[in-house]
Assembly symmetry: C2
Amino acid sequence: MKKKKKKIEYRSECPISTAIDIWGDKWSLLIVRDMIFKGKKTYGDFLNGGEQIATNILADRLAILERGGIIVRQKHPDSKAKILYTLSPKGVDLIPALVEIISWSEKYHDVHPQAQEFAKAVRKDKKGLIGQLMGGFQK
Amino acid sequence: MKKKKKKIEYRSECPISTAIDIWGDKWSLLIVRDMIFKGKKTYGDFLNGGEQIATNILADRLAILERGGIIVRQKHPDSKAKILYTLSPKGVDLIPALVEIISWSEKYHDVHPQAQEFAKAVRKDKKGLIGQLMGGFQK
DNA sequence: CAATCCACTTGTAAAATGCAAGTGGATTTG
DNA sequence: CAAATCCACTTGCATTTTACAAGTGGATTG
């Protein structure tokens, strides 16, 4: 018997508000960023991200992202003590939005050199870059 | 004498975290949405948006968005009692990211029919739609 | 088998949010 | 032209969320 899909209630039927209900806080999108751009996969990886998220908040956000279908919690192949977090297809599909956010932010703020180069690469070949990034997560 | 530009401090030099510092809460992006897609321009307009923001939070978010350079607070041509809020170029430049967020969300959630049509139009001609939307805000 | 690793959980203080009511100047109404 | 209403907020307070520090319990390492 397959799992039943529980309907999650959102504030409204607006796609933007629904998106915000899932990842619209100060931390969730940074977890996704760490998965996409830094290859992070475990609780410990995320804890030691650049911006120092509190451990209870991290646990809470991982649960919300999982419930929102963005990430998948799995057994880690290396150890029973570890948990492997990966992006679902729905999570991978956030990449185009992330790329636009990065490009926008880079245009108007002081960001690190790596982000500047990334934005430049987007200007050269946005579709190619997005395809390449998303391709890295296909099974 | 011109205004001095005060440097605002952000969590890190990551473009995503900086973006989140400006509009990464449950309400800010909905205000921007209301300006872009519903033509809202005044405090009263925003108060009566679909999702019922509290008045003190609205005041706070408008101030943050203004300080973040997304919106501009101006005199209203019709009345001294009114304030006109408009998008800055930096605000208008959020449109591509918004469009990606809408497309992503529409793909995975139940959204209202208008949003479904919008997503369909994006699939047909993304660049055209974005250009058209952004064009509506050029001076 | 003791120490360490790992993914959390718990307790509590601080901050943000939400709700209801109020303020004061500008505008409309009778 | 005074009273009522509009408009953009502000204030006070309850509730919720976030942050910080410490702890837990199973898995792994030395």
